[in-house]
């Protein structure tokens, strides 16, 4: 009986339209997620960031607090401390607060917009409360990251092109000369082939081959049988008085043929002339090879360039080169992650539009009145706490600069007293709004500590600039592939470490370095990024140049002259002989070619005259018609 009652109850129980058995677990899950977010998410995020940060950095990373607000789209991290791996009792960097708010309006469009962000309370090398843990280091990753690859490629692109220009050991070379090795003797002992000599021999051989080829081509031009045949054909055209136009037609065809032939002869002659003249350029190139040989030999016998610019370039140029490389590293990274719009004129044609349309449809674009790029950091404030007064702002960092039509700017100024840097004033502008990206960097520092740096190192002489203080002004303006970079630096009361085997060299090094009240460096790199023109000037270069010239007298200049003489003696006669042979051959061929041209011209004008003669003039024609009509009239009236 009870079973039947239950059965009835089961049948009567009707389920409503809402699936409560699904909604209730869903709501429970949402509530649980909400509770987790409210009470545990921040803690777990903090622990996760500490763990991941520690693994990535290789030493303890501490975070005091993480606050997230899903409703307001806010995210805040307080008290970040990154342990210094070398000195675990210090923090490498310490940040008081990092905060940012995201716009929900953008998030609902699947974009990230950060209207305001702040990085406050930055401090470097502050003492930690507890000594930080340093984790055992893993072997570095053999494969660099994408950004790392771009950065190193960009750096190498600039550094490699100027490597040779800044290489060499100028003081070592001077020391070698001062050590008593007579430069002139060294020059006398040079053995080996010269590139210019090799080239002269090659050209001599080539000229012999060319002589045969050119003679053959000239002979072909001399052969005018075909032209003569055409001329005879033209003369042989007979004029039928009843049909004079037929003859005219034939004459025109033959005249055109003659003209074509003449043009052919002329063009072949012109090609031959160009070929002959081009060979002269090859001979002229020998002078450049001679210059290069001279430079090579100078470096082989270690004859130093004694002009101030060469000294400055060899001693201090690498410092500028490195700065330039660092700049390009960041410029290329910015161009990669904040890409300028593509040049529409260079856009590749789209592939099979019809096929694409049939598959996915066409996207109709409507005007954007309220839109955002994928990522847009509108403004971020940066400030350093404590004794330091350094602060700045970063604006408009975005993945689509052309969309927001504003350049990204990082501006900062102040002092970093703990680091002993005063009067920092920097402005970096990344204008990627148009298809030609433009970057402008201006970094001025009133006083900055400079680390010790080896300026020249060789077994015979060594010069090291000791730690000091300098003022620095670096500016770079890069537009597309063109750059103009300047660096002016003044090191006050510079101190040097000098060492040389030779006493004379030691004296020079000591006197020059002691006489400098300041060390100036004015460097510039201008032009296309792939072929920059580097200029480096420094009072150190000027002083060294003066002192060494004084010491060596004209010893180096004499050796250079000797070297030049040696090359000239080897190359001069051979070059003269080659040039003589060439001129002789050219004279002969030029005469032949101009004679041919004249003959061809006269054949052409003859043909034209003959054709004109064959054509009846309008006056003749009128006379002929008049005579015919008169004859017919006389017959009719039987006169």
């Amino acid at each position: 009986m009870e079973d039947k009652k239950n059965e009835k109850k089961k049948v009567i129980k009707k389920k409503g339209p809402i699936r409560f058995e699904a909604i209730i677990p869903f709501v429970v899950m949402v509530v649980l997620v909400g509770l987790y977010t409210k009470f545990f998410l921040d803690t777990h995020l903090r622990l996760g960031m500490e763990k991941v940060g520690g693994i990535v950095h290789g030493a303890e990373v501490d975070i005091a607090e993480v606050n997230t607000s899903f409703i307001n789209g806010n995210f805040e991290i307080k008290g970040i401390e990154v342990t210094n791996k070398e000195q675990p009792e210090l923090n490498l960097i310490q940040i008081g607060k990092v905060g940012m708010g995201m716009s929900w309006d953008a998030l609902l469009r699947g974009k990230i917009l950060i209207p305001n962000a702040g990085i406050e309370g930055i401090a470097l090398n502050h003492k930690r409360k507890n000594v930080g843990e340093v984790y055992p280091q893993k072997a570095p990753d053999a494969q660099p990251s994408a950004a790392g690859k771009i950065a190193s490629e960009a750096k190498n692109r600039v550094l490699d092109q100027s490597k040779e220009e800044f290489e060499g050991n100028v003081l070592g070379d001077v020391a070698t000369v001062l050590e008593g090795t007579d430069a002139k003797d060294q020059v006398q002992n040079i053995r080996g082939d010269l590139a210019s000599e090799k080239r002269v021999d090659e050209l001599e051989k080539l000229l012999k081959d060319k002589e045969k080829e050119w003679a053959q081509r000239a002979d072909q031009l001399k052969d005018k049988e075909e032209l003569k045949a055409l001329q005879a054909k033209l003369k042989g055209i007979k004029i039928d008085k009843k049909k004079p136009w037929e003859a005219l037609k034939q004459a025109k065809v033959v005249t055109d043929e003659i003209k074509n032939k003449v043009n052919q002869i002329k063009n072949s002659g012109r090609d031959l002339k160009n070929d002959i003249n081009y060979f002269k350029n090859s001979i002229a190139e020998i002078d450049n090879l001679v210059k290069k040989d001279l430079q090579d030999l100078q470096s082989r016998v270690k004859l130093p360039e004694l002009d101030p610019a060469s000294f400055a370039k060899k001693l201090l140029g690498n410092m500028f080169r490195e700065k330039m490389g660092e700049t390009m590293k960041y410029v290329d990274l910015a161009r990669k992650y904040m890409p300028p719009p593509k040049d529409k004129s260079k856009e590749e044609p789209k592939v099979d539009v019809a096929k694409e349309l049939s598959k996915r449809g066409r996207l109709i674009k409507f005007p954007i009145t309220t839109g955002y790029p994928l990522f847009w950091l509108k403004e971020a404030k940066v400030s350093v706490v404590g004794e330091d007064t350094f602060s700045g702002s970063l604006t408009n960092v975005t993945t689509a600069p052309s969309f927001i039509k504003k350049p990204a700017i990082f501006e900062a100024k102040g002092d970093l007293k703990k680091e002993n840097i005063q009067g920092i004033n920097l402005k970096i502008t990344m204008d990627h709004v148009t298809s030609i990206p433009k970057e402008k960097l201006e970094i001025n520092v009133a006083s900055v500590p400079t680390p010790a740096r080896v300026l020249s190192k060789s077994p015979s002489a060594q010069l090291t600039l000791k730690e000091g203080r300098a003022t620095s002004r670096f500016s770079a303006s890069i537009s597309g592939e063109n750059a103009e970079v300047m660096w002016n630096s003044r090191t006050m009361k510079p101190e040097f470490d000098v060492a040389a085997k030779n006493e004379r060299m030691t004296k020079i090094l000591q006197s020059v370095t002691a006489s400098l009240p300041e060390l100036t460096l004015n460097a510039q790199a201008v032009g296309q990024l792939s072929s920059l023109k580097w200029t480096v000037n420094s009072n150190l270069g000027t002083e060294f140049s003066r002192a060494i010239k004084q010491e060596l007298g004209n010893q180096v200049e004499l050796a250079k002259a000797e070297l030049k003489q040696k090359i000239d003696a080897k190359i001069g006669p051979k070059k003269e002989k080659l040039l003589g042979e060439y001129n002789k051959l050219k004279g002969k061929l030029d005469g032949l070619l101009s004679k041919n041209e004249k003959e061809a011209d006269s054949a052409s004008s003859d043909a034209e005259n003959s054709a004109k003669a064959a054509a009846p003039t309008p006056a003749n024609k009128v006379e002929e018609v008049k005579d015919d009509l008169l004859k017919k009239l006389k017959k009719k009236i039987k006169f």
Partner: protein, 174 residues
């Protein structure tokens, strides 16, 4: 597993005397689902409806798969319809407003195929619903009732296995 259970549920419901609206709503919503891109706002909305309301899930997914395949052949038609609607000058300001609103662009309404198929989907929703209802009733009357009159079915109903199954269903089935 859930899908197989739902499909078996559909077969059972189809052959019962109730649930016509559930099946019809499932097929009609499946039709919209079949016309929409998988990762779009409208697809999520349909999923939510199917999940929260007592709509036959098996019918919905089966219909979605069927109309998805059918839709592949109709892409040119959808594209033409969408192109016509999206380029109507009178609707330009409305679409511009939609284009700049939050969430709405996630429907990908500005794609000609999505617009064409979506429009057809929503317009034909009531038609599909009513048509399915009629077809289910007809099926039950013309096929199920006749089949239940056959000797085979009567023999099957009188068998011990069926009785065992019937008792099992009574005890554990929903």
């Amino acid at each position: 597993m859930i899908l197989i259970k739902q499909l078996l549920g559909l077969l059972k419901l189809l052959n019962s005397e109730t649930g016509t609206n559930q099946i019809a709503a499932g097929v009609a919503l499946g039709f919209i689902l079949g016309q929409s891109p998988m990762l779009s706002l409208q697809a999520i909305a349909v999923f939510v409806l199917i999940f929260f309301f007592r709509i036959q899930m098996g019918a919905a997914f089966l219909s979605a798969a069927f109309f998805k395949l059918l839709g592949l052949a109709l892409v040119p038609l959808y594209a033409s319809l969408g192109e016509w609607v999206l380029t109507m000058p009178s609707l330009e300001s409305l679409f511009t407003t939609f284009y700049n609103m939050p969430l709405i662009p996630l429907t990908r309404f500005n794609n000609t195929v999505v617009m064409g198929s979506g429009l057809l989907g929503f317009l034909l929703f009531p038609v599909i619903f009513l048509l399915t209802k009629i077809l289910v009733s007809k099926y039950r009357k013309l096929i199920v009732e006749r089949f239940q009159e056959t000797k085979i079915w009567k023999m099957w109903k009188a068998s011990a296995i069926y009785k065992l199954y019937f008792n099992y269903e009574k005890l554990y089935g929903r």
